[in-house]
Symmetry: C2
Subunit: 142 residues, 2 copies
DNA sequence: GGTAGTTGCTACAGCCACTGTAGCTTCAAG
DNA sequence: CTTGAAGCTACAGTGGCTGTAGCAACTACC
């Protein structure tokens, strides 16, 4: 049985984050000592590891909730898990594309900056006048 | 003089967002009609355009605050604006690198998924066992 | 057995950059 | 003069945590 601190160390999770996962029902309510402190089993460790790994891959908590429920029911179809992962991949690819466009624009801005006074600063000028941009980058880059 | 709605339309900004920018001091307090409604000048339009453009390039609001103040003082050095833009570029590049690693991992996970039952699902299995990953992706992908 | 220091507990505020809602007032067109 | 759109304030909610305050419990050492 692990304390919340040990569990946090073993999984690379902050103590508050573990409590937060319990609060939102992603982790089950932990067993408690007589004094009221949480104690964690190996199954809890596995579940938290799963969650953290999915987070590292960028899955939002709601997707992780679904993945966990799929993982809890091994007889169900794999199809759903696959779909969730594909959705995640798509989002990652979209973000990469957006960021690449931003990168190009920022690069151009900086390249052209002569380092003189703010009045002639290319960086500021480009920001002032959108028409100087090559790409549209309509939506906000995240 | 523009209403807040017209200004929003012209700059692609929601009305609430404009009010929010005023609240946090990014936009100046707008002039008001007798009835208390905000009215905006061309200078306000320029300033909001600048802000939105910088947001589209991913600059955080605090960086934009700095850029605006540099833009307001054309005699100051361009160096600061340049540094802010370089910082932003670096962050974008880092995010791209991270996302590329995630993309690889997700792709591999999905490729290997046979489409059978959840018990043998590669997606779930990889999430369960971090050691199956090629990359480390220690920090959470954003 | 005592005590000091670490870890744990709850409850709540704060982060970023908005977005949405409720309940009202003002404005512009017909 | 009415109607409906657009404006107003104030506040709650989003995601995924993080930080703080003020306690209680556990553990290591003497």
């Amino acid at each position: 049985m692990l304390t919340i601190g040990k569990l946090g160390q073993k999984t690379g999770t902050r103590v508050q984050t573990i409590r937060y996962y319990e609060e939102i029902g992603l982790m089950p309510e932990a067993e408690r000592t007589e004094g009221g402190q949480r104690r964690y089993s190996d199954a809890d460790f596995d579940r938290l590891s799963f969650i953290r790994h999915a987070r590292q891959l960028g899955f939002p908590l709601e997707a992780i909730r679904e993945l966990l429920s799929l993982s809890d029911h091994p007889d169900q179809s794999c199809h759903e898990a696959d779909a969730i992962a594909r959705r995640q991949l798509k989002q990652v690819e979209q973000r990469i594309a957006r960021l690449n466009a931003l990168k190009t624009e920022l690069h151009r801005m900086i390249e052209e900056c002569s380092g003189g006074h703010a009045a002639d600063c290319r960086v500021l000028e480009v920001l002032r006048d959108h028409s100087e941009c090559l790409t549209r980058h309509d939506d906000i880059g995240a």
